[in-house]
């Protein structure tokens, strides 16, 4: 049995779980649970009311069913909506007070939190199940006036900012999972970059689901004030469990005049085993608002994990001359399913958007690009360029491209291109002849296929992502 576990760990090296005592909210979803969450987090009344309003709305909403991946009905009453390490009744003031088991967990994940071992030039906020456990480099950031903390802390310390922007991009009435998140969100990261400040380091949040039968509902809010710049990274893993676990996060970005936000994700939640058992349902709502003129929001994602991924990081290009970008790699193997893409809503004049999507499917997996480019009446001189490429490995998998294009402006230009291809036997033969084995050859070719997107990632992440691309496809050829 132990050996079998170890064998599995080879396939997904983040699949271990941490044995730690937790405090949980009572199982199930109801007003009491929401009040429990709000109380344990010592939230102000307006936020509790906000949550309850979302919950009221949730009761009339239906789960969406238009997306390609179908999944068995989720019993929302059978989930825990809050789980935190017991030692967390009070958030530790310093790392010395942090449970050594947690430190150990993050070390194993390659995210050392201790001062001396910290990753160079990356500030990390570590979220474990429902709570943020530690944030590094805080002092250095504070000097510049940058706020980088857990959203719970922001609610206490910067209520005005939170109140102003929370739900301003994803309203609580948006859609089922976004509304669910609004009702029960537990923690997440908060970033505020003041006017004309260029954030001196990468900000990063590392999400970890540990407890079983627990949903993770984090909420991230990033505000880039006029003329500021920030690059933010998000990584995630979970232990291997036979059950499916729900992850329904909301991420809101706001870029004011001349501000730029670069948001990168390497998503490696547990994808389930070879037969499609277990794995995370990754139903995430991510949306950025280019509120000010000349603002820019750029999403980059490498999606290799999760049983089902279903997310569309989007940009609302409201400010004149604003820019939205979406770079995506989605790799599905075995029985994984991904339905991902973006929405670019052009409202302002001279707005530009660019979409580069690379989908790779292998095994029995299904991979869908779904996107919307919507050019409004007033978005004169706007431009969009979209390129969606799919790569299939084997003929038991599927690749789909479903772009919606609406152009209501005669002075706008929209371009869309899509291709589907395979790794040719000749390419493999050539690589083999140069001494690469089958898996090395596939990894090399696929990395080449994804190059345009990998280039967008910050250096520290790019290397990791390249390896991940190779690992995710192991055993798919041959």
């Amino acid at each position: 049995m132990r050996e079998k576990e170890l064998e599995k760990l080879k396939e997904y090296k983040y699949g271990f779980s941490t044995d730690i005592e937790t405090i949980k909210a009572p199982k199930g979803l109801n007003e009491e649970v929401i009040k429990f969450i709000s109380k344990i987090k010592k939230e102000p009344k307006w936020l509790l009311d906000w949550r309850l309003k979302a919950y009221k709305r949730l009761k009339v909403l239906k789960e969406p069913n238009w997306q390609k991946p179908k999944y068995p009905k989720i019993n929302y009453q059978d989930l825990y909506y809050y789980s935190a390490p017991k030692s967390f009744k009070e958030k530790p003031k310093s790392l010395d007070e942090l449970d050594p088991k947690l430190l150990e967990t993050y070390k194993k994940l390659g995210i050392p939190l201790q001062e001396q071992k910290r990753l160079n030039n990356i500030a990390v906020d570590a979220v474990f199940d429902s709570v943020s456990v530690a944030t590094t480099f805080k002092e250095k950031l504070t000097e510049k006036g940058i706020i980088f903390c857990s959203i719970s802390e922001a609610i206490q310390k910067h209520p005005d900012l939170v109140k102003k922007y929370l739900g301003s991009v994803i309203p609580i009435t948006d859609h089922y999972f976004a509304t669910l998140n609004s009702a029960v969100f537990t923690d997440g990261s908060f970033v505020y970059i003041p006017e004309n400040v260029r954030c001196p380091m990468e900000l990063s949040t590392y999400f970890r689901i540990n407890a079983s039968q627990t949903g993770q509902f984090e909420r991230t809010l990033i505000i880039a004030d006029k003329g500021s710049y920030v690059s933010y990274l998000e990584g995630c893993t979970a232990p291997m469990r036979d059950e499916n676990q729900l992850h329904a996060a909301n991420v809101e970005l706001v870029a004011l005049d001349d501000a730029e936000i670069k948001y990168s994700t390497v998503q490696n939640w547990y994808p389930g085993d070879k037969d499609g058992k277990g794995g995370i349902y990754n139903f995430v709502t991510k949306r950025g608002l280019c509120k000010g003129k000349n603002s820019k929001i750029s999403w980059t994602q490498v999606e290799t994990g999760s049983a089902i991924t279903w997310k569309y990081p989007s940009c609302i290009l409201m400010g004149d001359n604003s820019i939205g970008e979406f770079y995506s790699i989605a790799i599905t193997n075995n029985y994984q399913k991904a339905d991902t893409g973006t929405k670019m809503t052009h409202l302002g004049k001279n707005t530009k958007s660019k979409i580069i999507s690379k989908g790779i499917s292998a095994g029995f997996a299904d991979n869908t690009y779904r996107g919307l480019v919507d050019i409004g009446r007033n978005a004169i001189n706007s431009r969009n360029y979209t390129q969606c490429d799919s790569l299939l490995i084997g003929n038991k998998c599927g690749a789909h491209t479903v772009p919606y294009i609406r152009n209501k402006n005669s002075l706008a230009n929209v371009e869309h291109e899509a291709t589907t291809s395979k790794i040719s036997d000749e390419q493999l033969f050539y690589c083999n002849q140069r001494g690469l084995n089958q898996e090395e050859a596939v990894s090399l070719i696929v990395n080449g296929f994804c190059k345009e997107v990998l280039q967008q990632l910050p250096m520290e992440f790019a290397v990791e992502a390249q390896k991940l691309v190779g690992i995710s496809l192991e055993g798919s050829v041959g």
């Binding site: 140069r434 001494g435 084995n437």
Partner: protein, 243 residues
């Protein structure tokens, strides 16, 4: 080094090689000439392990049964094929590919893998020796390369990998005289006691610069005639019909 005994090959039931035999000893340079469709490329492909052929006969390589080795194992053991049509692999940086390939082979031999700097030093040296513009190292592998650039890239790879047994499949076709000299230079620089070559070609041109030890004529899937350099000159004059 390489011992081919009574090799026959079919593709879709069509016979291409019919009992070909050939022995190559360490240090020897053999040339195989022959008209179009005589089976020259098929021989090169089979030796390096391309699938899709129905094969009978025996080939031993350094006392291993060649057919028991996977494509990359053959490469690890020093068998190199310069492709007639090198493949384009979009998005893959040429220098990155060369490094991956070289390190895979070094690893199999228990040698230390080269880091980026060490590798770059070596590859730049090799490129300048061969008068190959190092700009191609930063381009996508063979993508948008001219025919000549692709072939030069193959020779560069060969001199990096330093194989024991190199097979050149019509590396000379479509090359101008300068590129041809680069190819010949690459081969001549590697020539040595322990290293053998099998040069497949259509014309005598390349052989003028390489001077093989043996020349064979391949016709109808068999060696029809063997000799030395004079045979190549004779063929150039009289053509293949006379044989």
């Amino acid at each position: 080094m390489l011992n081919i005994h009574n090799l026959s090959a079919k593709i879709d039931k069509k016979s291409i090689l019919n009992g070909l035999s050939l022995k190559i000893k360490p240090g020897e340079v053999h040339a195989i000439m022959g008209p179009n469709g005589s089976g020259k490329s098929t021989l090169a492909n089979i030796l390096s392990g391309k699938k899709g052929y129905d094969i009978s006969g025996k080939v031993s390589y350094e006392n291993n049964d060649l057919f028991n080795l996977a494509i990359e194992e053959r490469a690890h053991k020093g068998l190199f094929l310069a492709f007639q049509y090198p493949l384009e692999i979009p998005g893959v940086n040429t220098s990155n590919f060369l490094k991956t390939s070289l390190n895979a082979i070094r690893k199999s031999k228990g040698q230390k893998e080269l880091d980026a700097l060490e590798f770059l030093k070596i590859v730049k040296k090799k490129a300048s020796e061969l008068k190959i513009d190092e700009k191609i190292l930063n381009r996508q592998l063979n993508v948008g390369f001219s025919g000549g650039e692709k072939k030069k890239n193959e020779i560069l790879q060969m001199s990096l990998i330093e194989p024991k047994m190199a097979i050149l499949d019509e590396t000379d076709s479509g090359l101008d005289i300068d590129a041809l000299k680069i190819v010949a230079k690459g081969v001549n620089a590697l020539r040595g006691k322990e290293r053998s070559f099998l040069i497949i070609t259509h014309y005598q041109r390349l052989l003028d610069y390489i001077k093989p030890d043996f020349v064979h004529v391949l016709m109808n899937g068999k060696i029809a005639k063997s000799g030395c350099m004079e045979l190549a000159e004779e063929l150039e004059k009289t053509g293949y019909e006379k044989i």
